[in-house]
Amino acid sequence: MFGYTLGVASQGLEILRKSIDIRSRNILNASNLDYAEEEAVIKSLAPVGITLESIQRFQNFHYVSLRNDKTSTVNSLEERIRINNIVEDLFQEFLEGTGGSEFINRAFTSYQNLMKDPTNVGARSNLLANAQSLVNYLKDRKKDMDRIDQAIDSSMRDHIKSINDLTSKISKINNNILISYVQTYSKGRDYKNLLDERDKYLRELSQYVNIRAQEDEIGRVRVETGGGFVLVEDRHNWELSYDASNQSIEWNSKDGSKVNISSLITDGKVRGLLNAKEDIKRYLSKLENVAKGIISKVSLPVINGIAYISSGFDSYNNQLGLSGQITLNGSSSFTITINASDSLRDIAKKINDADVGFRANVVVNEDGTYSIEVISQNTSYTIQGAVLNIQPTDRARVFVGYDIHSMSVNPSLENVILKNLDYPRAYEFNDLSRGWWEAIKSSYTDLASDVATVLHDAKNKKDIEGRLLIAIESKLQEIQGVSLDKEFLEVMKLQRSYQALAKAIAVVDELLQTTLNII
């Protein structure tokens, strides 16, 4: 009889010690966000004693998934904001003299000052300087945004690597869960620390990409992203890759094929970067519009015999398919042969290489076509040849080029164009410049407004989604978080039980001694 009692007491002490271990684990992990409070589930086996049935984990996987979804959304917005903040810093419109609008305004002011007093040498120099500053500004912004675009690619590769690392870790944990479950099946199935680790990785994974996780009865998860593309199942994981040239995220099948799932990724840092990349592309397009507007519109009135312009063509670098000859009657006579394989750029180069007093540049026109503008150093020089329909024109471009990259101040501006202005038409061009200025300003405002609106909206959304995330995390903490006060009270209770049980052993021992002494 006493032996039986000692057996029950011994079993009780072991279970109570295990319970205290679990409480200690709770206390130790009180500050761990991914830790779920645990509790020993002790089952009474009266009249034979107690048994540790299982370790209960206080968690609601629905809330975990909800939190992960929101984490994806917030991280997507944060990543987009991070990139757009860098872009915003490039456009300092509220610091005097540094915004793009200032460069545009200064260029047009100096243009109008020249048209007011076209013989003024100072006004000419001012126009040259401000035109060059405007070109430099636009080119610098283009370079800056190209760098940001490259940085996005680099970040994207890092993120994809992190995703692959995490899915690999989760697949390993799935395997470990199964092993631990089997090993601890008869000892309360105390493998829940793996589930905390699993949840931590799921949370981290959801920072990068939107996921859907399904838990089986022992805690293994199947993870998939948008469109049902599986990332983790059982002990297997599927990797993602980034194709920078096509700006696409690809899901790598086990058979080696790849599927573009960019459109299925709706949240997470990866979506944030994809969105930011689209933003940059759009900004660059709008910056390009500003540059093309400036090139195509801003021109100066020149006297007859100075400027020539060709017909407009759809491309500046494609083969035109035209053949014929252009005769340049300049400092000497020179005939250029145009081949069908020549592009506008090739023809401009041939004219410049002839070096007989003409300077040719490819320019973009207001209708989006491209032409060759030829500036003659002398009004007595002429050009013959119908191949490009090069005709005299009464205006010369201040800026030349076919995009931002090729944009420059007209190389002939200082030495030819400004010295051959047609003064009587200055007021007319002054009038025209007001329309150009307004159009360019609108074009630039469209860009600045886009940057402002995208960032403002993203920040607002992030504030709202961030608050929702906090609310969900609070709820989750209420479910799975550890209260130190509660844990210490539980420990004190267990301590009392343990002390009482230990006392019972001592009493039984005393009784046993007494019995033995009777003999």
């Binding site: 003024n120 003064y423 405002t445 600045a448 960032l455 920040k459 006060d485």
Partner: protein
């Protein structure tokens, strides 16, 4: 309900972040004086600021144009005033030279004065402001009057400058028009005012929008210069004035002018006057009188009339310039007020309301201190003290 420790500290951290961010924003507001520092702060305001910046630049440009026009027209007006003064003196000299008591030597002396005055007027007519000839019209750099022929060689259109959205002003004037006269002289010359006409014909005159024709040399029609001049003066005095004028070579021509200085005149003819009429400018008329005096000829009524008319024409042009100049000057306060309004509007949008920001800064500081005290107190609320 369970209140996990994590939850309490997370809330503290969130509140701490929120308050510190607001303190940081208000500190920036106060230190920079700007409430808008980035494009995304208020997208609608950003667009408005960009528009205002452009408007301010454009207005500043118009102000520069206005100053340029002001300077140019003031200079033109000054020069016309100088010409006016010279013509007034020349008129007195011409009266003096009309007297038969004046000897040839004295006439020669007056001729020299006329020559100097002509040179002075020519200098004024060819005056430059910067690189621009103020009477060169839109050609700007082309010398307006030939120093020998006194013909106008520059542009017939004035150079215009915009001083506001809808107003452009003639800034560099067409000298050909400024120094033009509405006095014509016949190319045909006659030995004496009463020399009979040999070929009858007609003179066609257009004054403003009115056209008339005067027949001569026929039966019952004027038969010599003097009769023709008298006939025109008697019948068309409301429109025309005709005079017999002695040329520098001693011959006589018919001078026709409008009655009013402001009217335009076109003259052509058939018959005796089919060789047409010259329309000398003010400088050429002055030279004609100078040549007469240099040749020992006295001035006559036509000379006095021409100088008086020249004076009147220059006075009218000067008055026109003065009127435009007055309008240009009156645009200054308007532009300055508009500039103030635009700048104030820009300031209202982007500049900080300092008292409000300081108030908010103080409020957030208090909130921060309160939070920190709660955090400190929370540290003591623990079961550990009772174990």
């Amino acid at each position: 309900m369970k209140v996990p420790d994590n939850l309490i500290y997370s809330l503290f951290i969130q509140q701490d972040n929120s308050i510190r961010r607001k303190i940081s924003d208000r500190t920036l507001d106060i230190s920079t004086g700007r409430k808008l520092r980035n494009l995304s702060d208020e997208p609608a305001s950003t667009v408005e600021i960009l528009n205002l910046k452009k408007d301010i630049y454009q207005l500043s440009q118009y102000s520069q144009n206005r100053l340029f026009v002001d300077t140019s027209l003031s200079f033109i007006e000054f020069n016309l005033g100088q010409v006016e003064d010279v013509l007034r003196v020349l008129y007195q000299k011409a009266i003096q030279a009309k007297s038969s008591l004046i000897s040839k030597d004295q006439l020669s002396s007056i001729a020299q004065e006329f020559e100097k005055s002509l040179s002075f007027i020519l200098d004024r007519a060819n005056e430059k402001l910067g690189q621009n000839y103020i009477f060169g019209g839109a050609d700007l750099t082309k010398k307006p009057f030939d120093t020998v022929t006194l013909n106008y060689n520059a542009s017939n259109t004035p150079f215009e400058v915009w001083i506001s959205e809808n107003t452009k002003v003639e800034t560099i004037l067409n000298g050909g028009k400024v120094f033009s006269s509405n006095v014509y002289v016949s190319i045909a010359t006659f030995p004496a005012p009463i020399t009979p006409f040999l070929n009858p014909g007609s003179i066609y005159v257009t004054v403003g929008s009115t056209s008339i024709s005067v027949n001569y040399g026929g039966l019952g029609e004027p038969s010599n210069l003097q009769e023709l001049a008298d006939h025109i003066n008697q019948n068309y005095s409301n429109l025309l004035k005709a005079l017999v004028s002695q040329n520098p070579n001693g011959t006589y021509s018919l001078v026709i002018a409008t009655n009013r200085a402001v009217d335009n005149l076109i003259v052509s003819a058939t018959g005796e006057f089919s060789s047409g009429f010259d329309n000398p400018n003010i400088l050429q008329w002055t030279k004609r009188i100078k040549d007469k005096l240099a040749n020992g000829l006295h001035t006559d009524e036509s000379d006095l009339f021409v100088i008086q008319r020249s004076y009147d024409l220059i006075a009218i042009k000067r008055s026109d310039v003065g009127s435009v100049l007055s309008n240009v000057k009156s645009a200054q306060p308007t532009q300055e007020n508009l500039n103030d309004i635009l700048r104030k509007r820009k300031s209202d949008i982007e500049d900080v309301d300092l008292p409000q920001s300081i108030n908010e800064y103080t409020r957030y500081r208090l909130a921060y201190e309160a939070l920190m005290r709660i955090v400190a107190n929370q540290r003591d609320v623990t079961i550990l003290r009772y174990i």
